[in-house]
């Protein structure tokens, strides 16, 4: 093999790679925030007394957790236009990430809500708390604290999963890595650098989440 490693291609294209990393950060942050909302809404629905709320939430969770994210991305991007719903690569990728992670978040929120002993709610109600006050002061602070570590895992998974949206042409770190490889034929160096960037992103996110977890434990 006459291939000589040449890392100058990385230095020359570092701004481009960093831009890709930043796009991954933006997409992941946006998807994390929306997926939290989905998790809360569906998690509350899944613990509801009403069957017409509980059933759809349960099926949503099972459907999205038991199929590959890649198939969901393809189904949304290539399949939905056939029934008249055409989404851009960005919207398709974003929607798939949110729905997939939202399903995992739902389970975490449900577990967090169910971990609170019924007696606490009864005690709050007998102290004269309204239903809203019970939720605000008794349920949410505890459920949030219980859920946070598992939610953190889901967020880190989302950050890594965001690499998959490159296959439908959404521009982020993996997409830029593929592009750069196609121009320069330096697959080893480029994919090596992209891997290092992902590692840095994942470490930074776990570090930030650990700080948030510690703060919240002190706060509540």
């Amino acid at each position: 093999m006459g291939y000589k490693l040449n890392f100058s291609v990385i230095w020359k294209n570092l701004p481009l790679l960093l831009k890709g990393a930043w796009l991954t950060v933006e997409v992941s942050t946006g998807a994390i925030l929306v997926a939290i909302l989905v998790g809360i809404v569906m998690g509350v629905a899944k613990t509801s007394r009403h069957q017409f709320l509980r059933f759809p939430a349960a099926w949503y969770v099972e459907a999205f957790r038991n199929t590959p994210l890649l198939i969901q991305i393809f189904l949304i991007y290539f399949g939905l236009p056939q029934i008249g719903l055409k989404l851009s690569p960005f919207m398709s990728g974003f929607a798939a990430l949110v729905l997939y992670t939202g399903a995992y978040n739902t389970e975490v929120v449900r577990a967090g809500l169910e971990a609170i002993p019924k007696g606490q709610i009864e005690a709050a109600r007998s102290l004269g708390f309204t239903e809203i006050q019970t939720i605000r002061y008794v349920i949410v602070p505890q459920a949030f604290r219980i859920s946070l570590p598992a939610l953190s895992n889901n967020f880190i998974a989302l950050l890594k999963n965001s690499s998959l949206v490159s296959v439908i042409g959404m521009v982020e770190l993996t997409f830029i890595g593929n592009d750069l490889t196609a121009w320069t034929f330096r697959a080893f160096e480029v994919y090596g650098a992209v891997t290092v960037l992902y590692l840095a992103l994942v470490f930074s996110l776990s570090w930030i989440l650990a700080i948030i977890e510690r703060r919240i434990r002190l706060l509540i």
């Binding site: 093999m1 099972e62 199929t67 198939i71 290539f78 939905l80 998959l164 993996t174 080893f188 992902y198």
Partner: protein
Amino acid sequence: MHWDIVTKNLWYLLWGTKSTLQIAGGVLIMGTILGFFLGLLRLSNNPLIGYPTRGVMEVTRGTPLIMQMFFIFFGLPALGLELPKYPAAVLAMTLFAGGNAAEIVRGAIQSLPKGQTEAAKSLGMNYSQTMTFVILPQAVRRMIPPMMGLFTTLIKDTSLAAIIGVFELTRATQETIERTFASFELYLTAAFIYFVICYPLSLLTQQAEKSLHAA
């Protein structure tokens, strides 16, 4: 909607499913073996062994699987290691599974009370005796539910091998769509097939978790 396309090509999709299950199953076995090695090395008291093992685990667990596949399939030929797509995908997935299995092994062993190791040591057992007769029999029980979860993950993640061209369910679906253009029907069918495999597995995993906590 052209559901007749699905019925006509169902055998092809099921052929791909067989390949998916073979890859996921093979990777689970090799990944578990690798995971035991890494997990035990990770717990070594020797920092020269513990830290590098930890590094390997962080890289396999902290980067996207698709990146590992690209690196092995497109990147390694630069070092003279040219792997065909099938072994490349299996190698990447095995490393990925190994890193995750190692974390499961480590977690299960560390969740056991320290007194168990101390008791075994004070009975005069050496390291391998302690592991074989005291620690692992208890730890393996705790590893089973998360390992089942890992198997579900691997079945789903086998779809990524399609991106580098490996034939399995997702690739079979894509090939059928290239011929028939029925992307909605076929991707939905593929999702359904994955669901039919993964949903019972998830239920079994939950069951295993429950019986573990009950014991």
